[in-house]
């Protein structure tokens, strides 16, 4: 940065970074990886990209920079990967420029993200490859089998069987390895799972078919073996898509904590040290726009702090010398020196992280419907096959025949339909929700959401939009509004921003405005000294209202105008809460805000259960208390302070405007403003649950018919192939019925613009 010839630029950049919560230069450098000497790659998440124009704009803008080697936007994952040169013409590259270029070109924020999910993607790719291989093998073997079924005789049949055997062998090894590995793991630990009968069935049926082929037998099961594998792999792949990805929420929280801090040495020197090396007693220099690295005490300077990580509120709080500040809190306006009182691992943020770890560990105990079904299913199948083998052996006397029947039982009962029953429904349901702007993290979330009976909402940012809005705009003198707007444009305080937005266009121009952290703005003009800020600072007598935030404009200590702000209700919040109440859910509010504000909102929404002034730990406790009482809680929240509660609740939903950590901790994320997403997600999940149960019933009904045929010894390869395919197709077709939800969706997703509340929200 060329601070020498353009003084003030650095500050402006800082402010821009602050207002959009952009990562800092140090963070960017630390998180980038070297692709080759002199070249580094940075992967950024840009949630805003949504169309072809975004791709071209971002790529063009980045490629225009001299330091950028190449840039590529991925629209599906909404990410940008940039490869940049470490130095250009001897000047060190500042990767913050990349982020700012994206922001300037499109107005979208870019964030860092961790590579936690890459391992999952690799497995997904392996699974897709296995599906392709087994699909190829199944198609070719089926082709040969059709000829055998239509009457190929003697040597031709043997030839076809041999070719089938040769195609099936590598497919079994390559595509079947997922089942073998999982089955082996289960058996080695003395357990059994769905994969044990699958592995047994495909191995035994292959072995017996090979033996039959060598002895010029009439029936070979190669087609059944491989198409079984094919169907099961489809189910497995879909299931993997819906599996819970390793949650990155904890790393997201960890990312909030700065990676280092500027430590002031005793001799006046400064040193940028990694966060782990900051010790209690160190004096740290905190610039405006930085997060407090560790718990500390303000030594000098005062500033406004964004305490949203502590209480979820957007309204900042003031702290000056002697006040304690928590690690992770954002310093907004002034620069400070703090004395560290705790090491990073003992700081507030570390406590929230450990709360989160505990909560996520608890959730892992939930067992998915498919797993529960497998637990009953696989012993039953084994038992059936063994009984068939023993009975036919003893009573029939022909052990080879008995073996064939036992294998037919294994193949017929193989959980093809069962393996597809859950993942297909969940994938269709997730697609349905995605169309309505709701993202689902994993399949089990929908199972859990269908079970909830209590819904807890956070206040700021969830029931409300979390953006202050000017009240009674028409009663305010436009002249004063213009003056206030002109002053307010010099501050990043959320209330100032709201004031400036309300006055936009008519805002007056001032020069030399100074901001006094924690108090307000001041400017000396020909007419006198204008002040804009809290009542004590600007002057004036009336008692401030408890429920609304207030800003006063004064001239030489004489009050000209007061501005009141409220937080606009999220569109459809009242309707959604009332609807959920009527549907028999217990609803409540868990907020970190002051009691009078929470009480007023609870009364307005008709919610009887509310708790105020909760810390992140209190929220987790409140959720845990309900949980102990046997209630399944859905937590809807957005803040960092909600994140542990989001992770602790039975299931959770967050708006897309939520803090990164909140979004990652939640099971569902909704993109649109309307709170109707909550009832819609519940409705779709419940329907998905019903369809899953229907699918189970279908799969079991199929077994009830097919198993006696196999036990009686009438199951030929042809019958097995037909039965297996039909049952799978029926289950998939049933899952597709979920697409007929259009009616419910229309009811719950009235275009936001037609609602008066939404219009207000837009103005604000």
């Amino acid at each position: 940065m060329t601070t020498c010839c353009a003084p003030g630029t650095e500050g402006a950049v800082e402010l821009e970074r602050l207002s959009h919560a952009l990562p800092s230069t140090e963070e960017l450098v630390l998180s980038s990886r070297q692709v080759q000497p002199g070249l580094r790659q940075t992967d950024l998440s840009v949630p805003g990209v949504h169309c072809g124009t975004c791709i071209t704009t971002i790529e063009k803008a980045l490629q225009a920079l001299p330091e950028v080697e190449r840039a590529r936007v991925n629209l599906s994952t909404k990410r940008v990967s940039v490869v940049w040169k470490e130095t250009v013409d001897g000047r060190k590259t500042d990767p913050l420029d990349l982020v700012q270029t994206i922001h300037r070109a499109t107005g979208y924020d870019a964030h860092l993200f961790s590579n936690a999910e890459d391992a999952g993607d690799r497995l997904q790719r392996d699974l897709i490859r296995a599906v392709a291989v087994s699909g190829f093998a199944a198609a070719n073997i089926m082709l040969l089998s059709v000829s055998v079924w239509s009457g190929a005789e003697a040597s031709t049949r043997d030839l076809f069987h041999w070719i089938s055997a040769m195609i099936a062998a590598p497919a079994l090894v390559y595509a079947g390895r997922f089942f073998y590995q999982s089955a082996w793991n289960a058996v080695r630990h003395g357990r059994t799972n769905m994969d044990v009968p699958i592995a047994l069935a495909i191995t035994l049926s292959y072995a017996v078919s090979l033996w039959e082929t060598m002895h010029h037998g009439q029936h070979a099961w190669f087609d059944a073996t491989v198409s079984l594998l094919f169907f099961l792999l489809i189910g497995r792949t879909l299931d993997h898509v819906m599996r819970d990805r390793a949650r990155a929420a904890i790393s997201g929280l960890a990312r909030l904590s700065p990676r280092g801090a500027m430590v002031l040495a005793g001799d006046g020197g400064r040193e940028y040290r990694p966060i782990e090396e900051v010790r209690p007693g160190d004096r740290l220099m905190i610039a405006a726009g930085e997060r407090i690295p560790v718990d500390g005490m303000v030594e000098s300077g005062s500033s406004d702090f964004d305490l949203s990580i502590v209480n979820g509120e957007s309204a900042p709080a003031v702290a000056g010398p002697g006040d304690a500040v928590q690690g992770g809190v954002l310093n907004m306006t002034g620069s400070l020196v703090i004395r560290a009182t705790a090491a990073a691992r003992d700081s507030f943020l570390a406590e929230v992280i450990s709360l989160m770890e505990a909560a996520e560990g608890g959730r892992a105990r939930y067992r998915r419907i498919a797993d529960r079904a497998a637990q009953l299913y696989s012993p039953a199948v084994h038992l059936l096959a063994i009984v068939a083998f023993v009975c036919w052996g003893i009573f029939g006397g022909d052990w080879k025949q008995a073996m064939l029947i036992a294998i037919a039982v294994l193949i017929i009962t193989c959980p093809c339909a069962l393996g597809l029953a859950v993942p297909v429904v969940q994938v269709v349901a997730a697609g349905r929700l995605f169309k309505n702007g709701i993202m689902v993290k994993d399949g089990s979330a929908m199972e859990r959401l269908a079970e909830v009976d209590a819904i807890m909402f956070d206040k700021t940012g969830t029931l409300t939009l979390g953006r202050p809005r000017l009240v009674d705009g028409q009663d305010i003198d436009p002249g004063y509004l213009a003056l206030a707007g002109g002053l307010a444009m010099h501050s990043r305080h959320p209330l100032s921003q709201a004031l400036y937005r309300s006055a936009s266009g008519s805002a007056a121009r001032f020069a030399g405005v100074s901001e006094l952290p924690g108090q307000g703005l001041e400017v000396s003009t020909g007419e006198g000294v204008y002040r804009l800020g809290n009542r004590r600072f600007a002057g004036g007598g009336a008692v401030p209202s408890a429920e609304l935030s207030e800003v006063v404009l004064s001239l030489d200590g004489e009050e000209l105008q007061s501005f009141l702000f409220e937080d606009a209700l999220r569109p459809d919040a009242a309707a959604a809460v009332a609807g959920l109440d009527a549907a028999g859910f217990a609803t409540g509010i868990l907020s970190g805000d002051r009691a009078p504000v929470v009480k007023a909102l609870a009364r307005r929404l008709g919610v009887s259960l509310w708790k105020a002034e909760l810390s992140p730990r209190d929220k987790v406790d409140a959720v845990a208390e309900l949980d102990c009482a046997g209630t399944k809680v859905l937590m809807v929240g957005d803040g960092i302070n909600d994140a542990p509660a989001l992770a602790a609740a039975h299931v959770s939903i967050a708006p897309a405007t939520a803090a990164d950590v909140g979004r990652q901790a939640a099971d569902f994320v909704f993109m649109h403003d309307s709170l109707n997403a909550v009832p819609l997600a519940i409705e779709v999940s419940r329907r998905a649950g019903r369809l899953i149960r229907q699918n189970f019933a279908l799969a079991i009904g199929y077994n009830v018919i097919a198993v006696p045929i196999a036990l009686a010894g009438y199951a030929t390869p042809l019958i097995a192939a037909v039965a297996m395919s039909t049952s799978s197709i029926i289950v998939v077709a049933n899952a597709l019925r979920l697409n007929r939800l259009a009616g419910v969706e229309r009811k719950l997703s009235v275009p936001a613009a037609s609602r008066p509340v939404a219009v207000e929200a837009r103005l604000a």
Binding site: I55, V73, L75, T77, R129, N140
Partner: protein
């Protein structure tokens, strides 16, 4: 029946070709960004896959 000696290898070869083409396209990242690819198709400048 002698035709089978030619037909079966040809069928398998063509099928295998399709399989290889799919595996190649998967490996070269053509399924990484399906939404983006749909847009890039109507974009004039750049149609190379991701590096």
């Amino acid at each position: 029946m002698n035709m089978l000696v030619y037909l079966i290898p040809i069928a398998l070869f063509l099928g295998g070709l399709g399989l290889l083409a799919f595996l190649w396209s998967l490996k070269s990242g053509q399924y990484d960004d399906l939404d983006g690819a749909a847009w890039r198709a109507i974009d004039d400048d750049d149609d190379r896959p991701a590096v």
